[in-house]
Amino acid sequence: MSDRIEVLKTYKTYVGGNFPRTESGRYYKVYDKDENVLANACQCSRKDLRDAVVAARDAQDGWNDRTAYNRGQILYRIAEMLETRKAQFIDELETIGYSNDEAKEEVNTSIDRLIYYAGWSDKYQQVFGSINPVASSHFNFSLPEPMGIVNIWAPEERPLLGLVSVMAPVIVGGNSCIILASEKYPLSAVSFAEVLNSSDVPGGVVNILTGYREELLEHMTTHMDVNAFFYTDPDISQEARKQIDENATLNLKRVIRKPVEDWLAEDSQSPYFITDFQEIKTTWHPVGL
């Protein structure tokens, strides 16, 4: 009796709530722990990024218009969907060399992290906003507002937990984002897009691309309709850091670098990850009869 031939998965990108292939038609090979080819990942181009920015811009306003309660619900919903697909992600992590325990820990922490940020959705405004006791006869308050679109380099290691940890604080604050998945381990990111797609996250709020960091770095940091660039690499080269900062000068993109060593650690989650992607808006109004 012959073995059943498995159906292999085509790994695509996630842009505007759809799963297109890269417009470039290019791919790169992804390997498992034994150096066998696992799949072909899309090698995204500048055009893919630009499409993603258009989708992200379209989505951002509406996403920010959702109530904080609703955004929290949706983040929680992502966690629910991930919980029910745990086996798939554990399996995927194992193929790239995780032990079963390690894979479980990464997936469980990812779920918990989503819930952590879901809970912040309707709280950080209270903690980080203020009513300002001005000396004149005005009512004056300051509230955090999303920056807009954030380009993100997901951490190279921790293909699932790293991705979730950089995405959640950005979107919970009403931003939309374009995430370049781990270059070496992009497959969990694409599978995670399927989770997002079934979690009521509006299309375009999270866009996930795969490809070469070096190729896309310039485009991610110079795009004029992107408001911030976020990366976490603790051991990035000095030249690359400099290039990111210089490129960001073009439209005063905010560059946020949080060099995180251990994504499992408690301090790799914090409300300050949310406020890093918020602008403070101050509103004045006269008080009187």
């Binding site: 203020s130 001005v134 210089e246 439209n251 005063l252 905010r254 300050y272 509103t283 004045w284």
Partner: protein, 506 residues
């Protein structure tokens, strides 16, 4: 756009004075203001000022000085030292020493007391500072006396109280100072900008090297005297004078941990670029092209007053000036008429006269820049209206100016002019108004005028600006965070949010 505005044409027929039927301000030439000059005899201006480093006034290493001009008379007021690399090295070293050996050792509440002293000293010598500010910068004495100086004192008073309460500002974190802050401030609000920069830096335990603008360094050096009077430990505050080159030396200095800059977007970008790849923290408060949106249901007389205040305050040398006016179509004619009437009553002239509304343009360079934009606006096809007031023959003065028939693409609409120049456009729906308002790379501040509270909140939340003034404009307070979205800068000054850029959280 052009069609919309054709209805405004009949206005051209009317004389440019307060004569419209609805105008209550019909002065009609009968009212003449007597001169009301502010006395200056108790104020001392030395011929020459040195650098303030390590608690001493010291001559610059290269012995170079430059003149400071009184923009209202074009006469030399005094001269300032030009700080070069050696001077900056010395200032940074003094600041570092003071940081490590004194300031960071000091108990927070004691640190606070020094800052309280500075606040009080500014209050005590408020009139003197106001006069100097007007002499040096050309701003009306009314504004320097009633706005600049009291606010500067208030900033020190506010941040003094934060010094021993930082644990309440950053939930879940401990705040530590960064070290030495290099601070570069602009010429539009010299002492106020100094206060915005120095007060939070000291409150959080940093020491500073501050460079005022080369055209307006006088009050900063007077402030240096106050630091001595307050007994502030030597080197905690250092004031170095000079132009762009001196600023760039500060930005690129390896011994500095944080840069705080207020100025143009162009220079801000250069600074951001020179800090690329370093661990220096920075805040940038940059340019703006503030939208001022007037809805049909707005209280029109108050709105007109607000428009005037938004653009003509401090000769329009305000980064958050409401330089782009958006008026809902139905009231456009009325607003234009009332605006012109009100512009006619503005007095342009001697900054030291208490009646003056609009003083001198800060420098010849800025005066030329404004005039270039006026010419450009006319060449782009806009209609220019200037009030018919008299202006002095000497000095750099510019009449309040209104451009109508402008388009989004006009450079006078897109670019920051930094002078008393207003552009007016109309809109029909709130959505259109918001879209037009957001259509520049800037995002500093803007105004919304309507009687409807819900509209204020909706429109205010959709404007991509760091500050929204609703039914008011150009309000400032030390407790209130200020700063820009997009290309108007990064970071906030004022309020508890203004502490964040001066600390590392652990």
């Amino acid at each position: 756009m052009s069609e919309d505005q054709q209805t405004a044409d009949p206005i051209e027929e009317k004389p440019f004075k307060p004569s419209s039927p609805s105008s209550k301000l019909n002065f009609d030439g009968f009212w003449e203001y007597d001169d009301a000059p502010q006395g200056t005899d108790h104020v001392e201006v030395k011929e020459q000022y040195n650098l303030f480093i390590g608690g001493e006034f010291v001559a610059p290493a290269k012995g170079r000085y430059f003149d400071s001009i009184n923009p209202a008379t074009e006469e030399v007021l005094c001269s300032f030292a030009e700080a070069t690399q050696q001077d900056i090295d010395k200032a940074v070293e003094a600041a570092r020493n003071a940081f490590e050996n004194e300031w960071s050792e000091l108990e927070a509440k004691e640190r606070g007391k020094y800052i309280f002293r500075l606040a009080r000293l500014i209050q005590e010598r408020g009139r003197e500072f106001a006069i100097l500010e007007s002499l040096d910068g050309g701003k009306p004495i009314r504004e320097s006396r009633d706005v600049d100086i009291p606010l500067a004192a208030a900033h020190f008073f506010y941040y003094a109280g934060w010094a021993d309460k930082l644990e309440y500002a950053f939930p879940g974190k401990k705040a530590e100072p960064l070290g030495v802050a290099g601070q570069i401030i602009p010429w539009n609000f010299p002492l106020l900008m100094l206060a915005w920069k120095i007060a939070p830096a000291l409150a959080t335990g940093n020491t500073v090297v501050l460079k005022p603008a080369e055209t307006t360094s006088l009050t900063a050096l007077k402030f240096a005297e106050l630091c001595r009077d307050a007994g502030l430990p030597d080197g905690v505050v250092n004031i170095v004078t000079g132009a762009g080159q001196t600023g760039s030396t500060i930005v690129n200095h390896k011994g500095i941990d944080k840069i705080a800059f207020t100025g143009s977007t162009k220079v801000g970008k250069i600074i951001k670029e020179s800090l690329a790849g370093t661990d220096k923290k920075y805040t940038l408060e940059l340019g703006g092209k503030g939208p001022n949106i007037i809805f049909e249901d707005a209280p029109i007389d108050q709105a007109v007053e607000g428009i005037i205040n938004a653009i003509f305050f401090n000769q329009g040398h305000v980064c958050c000036a409401g330089s782009r006016l958006f008026v809902q179509e139905g009231i456009a004619d009325e607003v234009v008429q009332k605006l012109r009437d009100r512009m006619e009553t503005l007095i342009v002239g001697d900054p030291l006269d208490k009646n003056t509304d609009i003083g001198a343009i800060n420098s010849e360079q800025q005066y030329n820049k404004i005039n270039e934009y006026l010419e450009l606006g006319v060449n782009e096809g806009a209609d220019m209206y200037q009030s018919s007031c008299q202006i002095p023959e000497e000095g750099y003065f510019c009449r309040p100016t209104l451009f109508t028939k402008v388009a989004q693409s006009h450079r006078i609409v897109q670019e920051e002019i930094f002078g008393p120049v207003l552009t007016l456009q109309t809109f029909r729906t709130a959505k259109e108004g918001i879209e037009k308002a957001n259509n520049t790379p800037y995002g500093l501040a803007g105004g919304v005028w309507t009687d409807k509270g819900s509209k204020i909140f909706k429109v205010g939340s959709k404007i991509r600006n760091g500050v929204v003034w609703s039914n008011t404009y150009n309000q400032f307070d030390p407790t209130s965070p200020f700063g820009g979205f997009k290309e108007s800068g990064e970071g906030r000054e004022g309020g508890l949010h203004g502490l964040y850029p001066y600390v590392k959280l652990v």
